[in-house]
């Protein structure tokens, strides 16, 4: 058993962990460590071989491994320590990280700051309670993606995809390009959760039908999947009797949502936001446990890795300041509420402002798809800030920088909300906001 001392440790070497570590080092933390359970850095990006990453962060379109490579190279140019093939078993209050690996055995790391950047996991068949048998051939889309793109095996030949999130759509194309027949994508909601671009380029390009408001009501097969039964659902998402039909297939890929992988956070006693399933954090991505920060998909599930990197930089920098004793005390925190039309807002708390900072960046997720809309901040009921939006999609995060002066006024209750705008809204004003 060995003991080590670091200023900042990031748990997880995916995009969040790498960006946080880099930002921590840049902000003055002397000893920074990334702990990663896989054999290399990059996290889930390494299996996302499709393009579409990095347009905001690097102003160029990269693949997942390409995006990871940029960060791996940046980390490689620093003196940040990297422990691979290492699993963290516990991150205890006070900054004690207990981890194991085959070559180092049990290590105890004393860290002044810990950044939780463990990412997320996929919701499973059990979580959506799909009836039927339990044969081979039911995979989460991400597990299938790893087998196809990294291990080189085909999870099936006649495939049905459940859920039209981006991973499901991407896998529809990927399986097609691997020689499988993708028969359909079924989405229980009346709208897709995926990007339009992915619907066009992953489904339409290959003639793969997307069934909205449809749910798999049973999986069949004893050894291997032999087929499924599908039904239309009503507005309460309940199957409509008489609309069932059968479809033969040998594989069902599930793309039914992501959940922050937060066991370590819970173990450390970090206060959680029940909606995001991630920690409740302030503008520094500081959690309720002193010295613990969170960033990336473990904090809330993002749609763009670019935002993960951005957020992790906030957390990494704050972790460094904390280690150096320079992070302002949390003081009396103001909660920030997600009001009507919004599902999530991060950060959920405002601590005392940092000197010299003019804005605080917020990330939002709408609760339902809307056309023109306005997002507003109310302080004690009075609108102090607003921005018009051309469109609201729950699958696409909204980002806004809010002036500190508006957040730290006299208003005690801060609430963001989204309201639909009539179609006749002033086009010119809208253009201006977008610019």
């Amino acid at each position: 058993m060995s003991e080590h001392v670091y200023d900042v440790v990031t748990i997880g070497g995916g995009p969040a962990g790498m960006a946080a570590a880099l930002a921590a080092r840049k902000a003055g933390a002397e000893r920074v460590l990334i702990i990663e359970r896989d054999h290399e850095l990059g996290g889930i990006l390494q299996q996302c071989i499709h393009n579409g990453f990095g347009l905001r962060r690097f102003k160029t379109e990269l693949t997942g491994p390409g995006y990871a490579q940029r960060y791996v190279d940046m980390v490689g140019e620093t003196d940040i320590d990297i422990w691979l093939d290492t699993t963290v078993l516990e991150t205890a209050a006070g900054g004690t990280v207990r981890c194991v690996s085959p070559d180092k055995g049990v290590s105890i790391v004393k860290a002044k700051s810990v950044v939780h950047s463990m990412g997320c996991r996929e919701r499973t068949r059990g979580a959506i309670r799909t009836p039927g048998s339990r044969p081979a051939g039911v995979f989460t889309a991400g597990a299938a993606q790893r087998m196809v793109n990294m291990e080189g095996y085909l999870p099936g030949r006649e495939v049905v995809i459940v859920g039209s999130g981006d991973i499901g759509l991407i896998m529809a194309r990927r399986m097609t390009l691997e020689g499988a027949k993708v028969k359909a994508v079924f989405e229980i909601m009346p709208h897709s959760n995926g990007l339009t671009r992915n619907i066009v380029q992953c489904l339409d390009d290959f003639g793969i039908p997307l069934y909205l408001s449809h749910s798999v009501v049973s999986v069949h097969g004893n050894d291997r999947v032999t087929g499924i039964t599908v039904a239309k659902v009503d507005e309460k998402l309940q199957p409509i009797a008489g609309t069932e039909f059968d479809l033969d297939c040998d594989t069902v890929l599930l793309s039914v949502g992501l959940i922050p992988e937060n066991e370590l956070g819970r173990g450390a006693g970090v206060a959680m936001d029940p909606i995001t399933s991630g920690a409740s954090v302030d503008q520094f991505r500081r959690t309720s446990v002193p010295g613990f920060f969170a960033a990336g998909n473990v904090l809330h599930v993002h749609d763009l890795v670019d935002f993960v990197s951005q957020e992790a930089e906030i957390a990494g920098r704050a972790a460094a300041l904390n280690a150096l004793g320079l992070l302002p005390d949390a003081g009396t925190q103001k909660p920030v509420h997600a009001g009507p039309g919004l599902r999530t807002v991060v950060p959920q708390l405002l601590s005392a402002p940092e000197a010299g900072k003019l804005t605080v960046r917020f990330y939002f997720r709408g609760s339902q798809p809307l056309g023109r809309a306005v997002i507003q901040l109310r302080a004690d009921g009075e609108v102090v800030w607003d921005r018009k939006l051309k469109v609201v999609k729950p699958s696409e995060m909204i980002v806004a920088d809010i002036p500190v002066s508006l957040l730290y006024g006299d208003g005690q209750r801060l609430e963001f909300s989204i309201e639909p705008l009539p179609e006749s809204a002033d086009d010119e004003a809208l253009e201006e906001e977008e610019a």
């Binding site: 058993m1 078993l89 070559d103 055995g105 059990g126 048998s133 081979a136 989460t140 020689g179 004893n222």
Partner: protein
């Protein structure tokens, strides 16, 4: 390495052949290895514990349900006591958490009194009738309209997979043989007595065979022109909840039973999850393992009768099992049609509890029929203790990793299962051969991500340890292959290797 694994080929002869690798067959095989004789268990699936033994409530019942004088009454109480002594040594996870039968009407309260009286006759220790207040004080999540409950402190929860593999491993350790993927085709007889068993892996000469084929046991009997009983598979569906809600209840909660079953219960599992279920309905197909929408809805409704706040959103998986319903009592008897064939059939609840006692009863029957029992002086009643990495102190973990670095690689994060534990499960005397086989032994993939992360890794470890390609690794049953090779070319005319 593969040589150390129990044989895949069928021996030419044995003193006793056990047909079926469920918990009953495995317990019988182990019981036989206490004597100097050769015993072989044949199982049609790639692993043991793949039928009723893999999908049941995992409860070691106290024994007040069964009608006095029946096999069930006698063997339940006996089995419950036996587990108390042997579970730990065999590596069978078991927690004696007691059970409560909850009454919500005056009629049900009367039924509890009947159960109490019955339990006394059956020899169940420690039964008590509790008031509503006592029940709620002990189990705060229980429905507020509870009127009283029957407390049975000797009830326990246990892992049914580890019970089966624990018996099977120990049997193999003591000279028994388990031959998997070996299905019975028929019996070779001479003048109405058994001479050999015909299987998909050839013929094995034997004087004694035990039919422990679960839901298939009537079909096995028919192979001997024995139609003395029939089996009606009765399905029970379950919902398993995440460990994060494991504190929901502290004991096994039954509703007051009706005529058909013990009803839908809410219970902790031995591993710290909570399950709700099972319902109960007859099915025709003994391979029908589909869960149904209506069934799951009924389970949830039933569970809410006892614990109104069951957090269904914490569900991590649903599954169903088939009870081998052969009538009111277990069928433990010589076949009336074929000398040397014995049935251990119709083993439904409390079959898991009774299994080691059934094994004693069956071996006694064989002795009565002329099987010579000489004690096996070399019999070792325990399995080697297997460390559960996650439960150890850091310095113990460090020592384990120093001894074998694979102890330091966590494959299943949800349940903290190391590569060394998975490798050990594969190389156990009756080792895992499938992804689900690994899961049942060491719980890799049984947590909240249900193998989403570790599934591909467990597949790769199985392939490596068994010396087979990834494409030959199976999920559970014989043809449940998981992955295909990459297509050579794709497009309009896809061609596969």
């Amino acid at each position: 390495m593969a040589q150390s694994i129990s044989p895949r080929t069928l021996p030419a002869e044995a003193d006793v052949v056990v047909i079926g690798g469920g918990v009953v067959g495995a317990a019988i095989l182990r019981e036989l290895t206490k004597y100097r004789l050769s015993a072989v268990l044949i199982e049609k699936a790639p692993d043991v514990a793949t039928g009723t033994s893999k999908a049941n409530s995992g409860i070691l019942h106290a024994g007040f349900d069964a009608e006095p004088g029946t096999w069930k009454a006698r063997l339940n109480v006996r089995g419950s006591r036996l587990y108390k002594d042997i579970a730990e040594g065999l590596g069978i996870a078991r927690r004696e958490i007691g059970s409560l039968v909850v009454a919500k009407t005056d009629e049900q309260l009367q039924e509890l009194e009947r159960l109490l009286a019955r339990g006394a006759i059956n020899g169940v220790p420690g039964l008590e009738l509790w008031s509503a207040d006592e029940t709620i004080a002990f189990e705060p999540g229980v429905a507020r309209d509870v009127k009283g409950a029957l407390w049975a402190p000797s009830a326990a929860v246990a892992c049914p997979f580890l019970a089966t593999t624990g018996f099977a491993d120990n049997a193999v350790r003591n000279g028994g043989k388990v031959v998997t993927e070996c299905a019975i085709n028929g019996f070779v007889t001479e003048n109405g007595t058994l001479k050999a068993v015909e299987t998909t892996k050839g013929r094995i000469a034997t004087r004694f065979a035990i039919n422990a084929a679960g839901v298939h046991s009537a079909q096995v009997a028919r192979l001997a022109q024995d139609d003395s009983f029939s089996i009606r598979p009765r399905k029970g569906e379950y919902v398993l909840l995440d460990k994060s809600v494991g504190h929901l209840v502290r004991t096994v909660l039954f509703p007051t039973p009706d005529k058909v079953s013990k009803g839908i219960l809410v219970s902790p599992t031995v591993h710290g999850n909570v399950f709700i279920g099972p319902n109960s309905f007859a099915v025709d197909d003994p391979e029908d393992h589909e869960t149904t929408r209506d069934g799951l809805a009924a389970i949830i409704a039933g569970a809410r009768q006892i614990v109104p706040d069951v957090p269904v959103q914490a569900a991590i998986t649903e599954f169903s099992g088939l009870r081998a319903d052969g009538g009111k009592d277990f069928i433990l008897a010589p076949s009336p049609a074929l000398g040397g064939l014995f049935h251990a059939a119709g083993i439904q609840s409390p079959g898991l509890t009774a299994a080691p006692a059934i094994a004693e009863a069956v071996v006694e029957m064989l002795a009565d029929a002329g099987l010579r029992l000489q004690a096996n002086a070399k019999f070792i009643p325990e399995n080697p203790r297997r460390a559960h990495f996650s439960e150890l102190e850091p310095h113990e973990q460090a020592a384990l990793i120093a001894a074998d670095p694979l102890n330091g690689r966590v494959i299943c994060r949800c349940e903290t299962v190391t590569e060394a534990e998975i490798v050990a499960a594969i190389h156990a005397p009756c080792g895992a051969r499938t992804v689900d086989g690994v899961k049942r032994r060491v719980r890799a993939g049984s947590g909240r991500c249900q193998g989403g992360f570790c599934g591909p890794r467990v597949t790769a470890i199985l392939a490596r340890e068994l010396g087979i390609p990834i494409t030959e690794v199976r999920k559970d049953s014989s043809e449940s292959y998981l992955f295909y090779p990459r297509a050579e070319t794709i497009g309009e005319e896809s061609a596969y290797v």
